[in-house]
């Protein structure tokens, strides 16, 4: 199994802190073709629980994973409770050296994480095969996340009228949608059906047809299908890359 070594782990941890502390820090970071996946969705939608499932799937394929979990800081006093890491725990993952997890606080508008995020991601790519970025659910970072990732996943809670999906700004950008099929939402099947009709018919500018899945983050049901969808999108990107190169 591939690992992120002790010195690599230390270096990555330290550099993330530095990028965040000194947003203007200049540094040459080599290019890497590691895959970057972004996960957005409102608070409580189940993002980090899905990330756990994705991380497990990637680790099974022996891909090294860096997960960056972003949460908002309190505007008033600067504190942040970074609790998402808890959702990525299991006996296997807890000590898995092929997995690196980092929780990041947005630290307010002035020190916007957005300035350093691209560097943090670029640096993380050096040590991994896939970087997963989770955003706080609202605010600046969320809108800009599209620029930093290859594949964007949006987790939706089956709440409210599915027609509203068309209005939501973010859904314009995502490649893959996952409706969290939680037990306490009785209408999730119905919601999924219409989400599929509305979103699943749409194409992004690059020709990708949006994919919509219904999956349960807790039980993990239908997760393999979502993971397969992620890989399909990567292949799509790779193919486009090669056609671009040959033409």
């Amino acid at each position: 199994m591939k690992k992120i070594g002790m010195f690599e782990r230390q270096a990555l941890a330290y550099m993330i802190s530095s990028f965040q502390k000194y947003p203007n820090m200049e540094m040459h970071i080599e290019k890497s073709d590691a895959w970057v996946i972004g996960i957005t969705g409102v608070t409580g939608a189940g993002k980090s629980t899905f990330i756990k499932k994705f991380a497990e799937a990637f680790r099974k394929k022996d891909m090294r994973v860096v997960a960056l979990l972003i949460d908002p800081s309190s505007k008033k006093r600067g504190w942040a409770i970074l609790g998402d890491r808890r959702n990525l725990r299991s006996d296997e993952l807890d000590c898995d050296k092929g997995l690196f997890i980092r929780s990041l606080a947005t630290r307010g508008e002035g020190l916007a994480l957005t300035d350093s995020l691209s560097k943090i991601i670029a640096y993380s790519k050096l040590f991994s095969d896939v970087v997963i970025v989770e955003t706080a659910g609202a605010g600046q970072t969320d809108v800009e996340i599209r620029e930093h990732v290859d594949t964007l996943v949006q987790v939706i809670e089956p709440l409210g009228d599915s027609l509203n999906l068309e209005k939501a700004g973010q859904s314009e950008e995502a490649n893959i949608f996952v409706v969290n099929d939680r037990e306490d939402f009785r209408s999730s099947k119905k919601f999924f059906a219409s989400a599929k009709l509305i979103l699943g018919e749409q194409y992004l500018d690059d020709g990708w047809q949006k994919k919509v899945y219904l999956a349960n983050a807790e039980t993990g049901s239908d997760i393999p299908e979502v993971v397969e969808g992620l890989f399909e999108h990567r292949e799509f990107l790779e193919q486009k890359q090669t056609t671009k190169l040959t033409t």
């Binding site: 782990r9 006093r77 942040a80 409770i81 808890r86 807890d94 000590c95 997890i101």
Partner: protein, 684 residues
Amino acid sequence: MSLENGFFGPAEVLIDYLAKLNNPGKYPFTRGIFPEMYRNKKPTVRQFAGHGCARHTNERFKKIISLGGTGLSTAFDLPTLYGDDSDAPLSRHEVGWDGVAIDTIEDMDALFFGIPIDKLTVSMTINAPAAVIMAMYIAVAKKRGISLSLLGGTIQNDIFKEHIAQNEVLYPLKYGFRLATDLMEFSARHMPKWHPVSISGYHIREAGSSAVQEVSYTHGDGIAIVDELIRRGLKPEEFAPRLSFFFDSHNDFFEEIAKFRAARRLWAEIMHKRFRVPIPENYDLKDTKLQSLWCRMHAQTAGCTLTRNQPLTNLMRINNQALAALLGGVQSIHTNSYDEVLCVPTEKGVRMAIRTQQILLEETNITNLVDPLAGAYQVEYQTEKIYEEAKREISNIESFGGMAQAIEELYPQKKIHENAIAEREKIEKTKNDSAKKYFSAEDENSEEDIAEITEEVEKRRGYEKEQKEKLFKFKKQRYRANVVGVLDKVRRAAEKKENLMPVLQEAVESSATLGEICGALRDVWGRAKEISGVSSAMSRKIALNITKGYKFPRPVRVLLAKGGHDGHTVGFYILRDIFQAMGAEVIHLGFRTTPEAIAKAAVEEDVDFVGLSALIGYVPGFFEDLKNSLRSFGGSHIEIIGGGIMLSAHEKYIKEKLEIKNIYVPGSSDFDEIIQNMKKRVGQ
């Protein structure tokens, strides 16, 4: 007190005697569930015992019996309480420490070897895996040819209070509750002498709740249990006589007495008005309908009130608290040991605890009186107050749709946390008060006082090896295919709705271990979801007072974790609010973490501090492991802040040998010190 004079008189306290008090033994039982109370039967002296492997506890049990004990009370070690085997990674430093280690049916058999379990009552303090432990007990009885109907005793089996306060949970609440009710239902149908649940407020109070919250949430749990058993087709009189309650006896003397009285009245009214149990005309004590109205109570003195520096002074606290329980009319009492803030009680500690009760029962003449404080304006005022407030809080719970839903919304957890941090603020405020200094002062000869304790504690370190060897041998000798087959059967039964007791019994008889069975259930039900935290606007405000507005000059990062299985969170959550108040970024890793997992996370998160709390077990071991793990992940520069219950010798070892300066010990050090040390490290 709302009155100018500071006392109550007949004008403020109107006693409607028949409706609110009535005679002892008469509805609503405010004055006691029996007409003659202790004149007829003195409260049971039920002391909790358990340590090491089954054979060690068996020896202690036999000693208790030889001293004239008619009941046994079993304490299990932390791995057992969490349904883990002694060889699980998280069990390190905990095996046999604060109770007996039980992994297999063979252990259970050895625990009661040579003890007539058909003749004396056995109490077992265990919750999440209670059904599996009970299955082992039943299997042992069966092996000895003892009929189930002869087994008498109690198993705690209260999963609600675990989710609310103590966090010894294995599965999501609804599945944990199903397992608990399977046991209750089975017991109601087949074991007429067994108490299959002890609805507990003790742990809620110890987690920092108020007296009113203690009563409200306990009765709220009770209502949910009764509801479910009725839904399963039982009539109240078929199970309610076997429900028992377990309360804390805290420091506020008259408030506690009032609490016991109010709790009895409130429960009787719940059973009568809500569950339609009639008030009997002739009070026949054998009538199960009458018994269904009773709030039978066991009380334990409050462990959280004890001091560590002068352990002997705890004897007086324990006496006061036991006296309150006695005047409140409880059915049985457990007096704590004066040395339990230092470690798990030693033999001397237990002996003194029993003596305390014996002195109260034999020398004060109190047991010849029935509810002697009735009619006292103060006591009746407070009883009425607690009754009214608890009733209101129960209706708050109802507004969520019941206790299970309220717990899922974290309502009781948050209320308890708010109360706990407010209490902490009071302590911080008054600790420099010269009149209060005595509490934390250190006795000059305290080292001598605890010399014996230190010696006994050292002995406990050998248990882990012995138990693991025993388990290894057991696993090697059994027929593996049988185990695999029966575990699969457990999984399939868990998927369906059938009562799990028979299949659990089959599993233990086929030599499946506790850890394997609990694991099989986990495969189907998943793990309990950890709550994200209990901070509220109010608790954060109090934290700001405690930190006096100090804010770190830069975003300091802190990782908070707990070592081993332990799930006590009072200090953990208070610390979290305090860090938050100082503007830190707090990474909450959650509970049940191995040192390796903590170290890996600390390095990846590039934190300044790791906070580790280790309450039970060989505490220096947890810190040593963490220190070593941090080193192997390249995180030696990260500072450890620790907390836990430990001997001063161990504290010294951690501070001097492991060079961990910031150690917080309940009952002696305070948060101020830690805050000062951090300021020093981070800069003003």
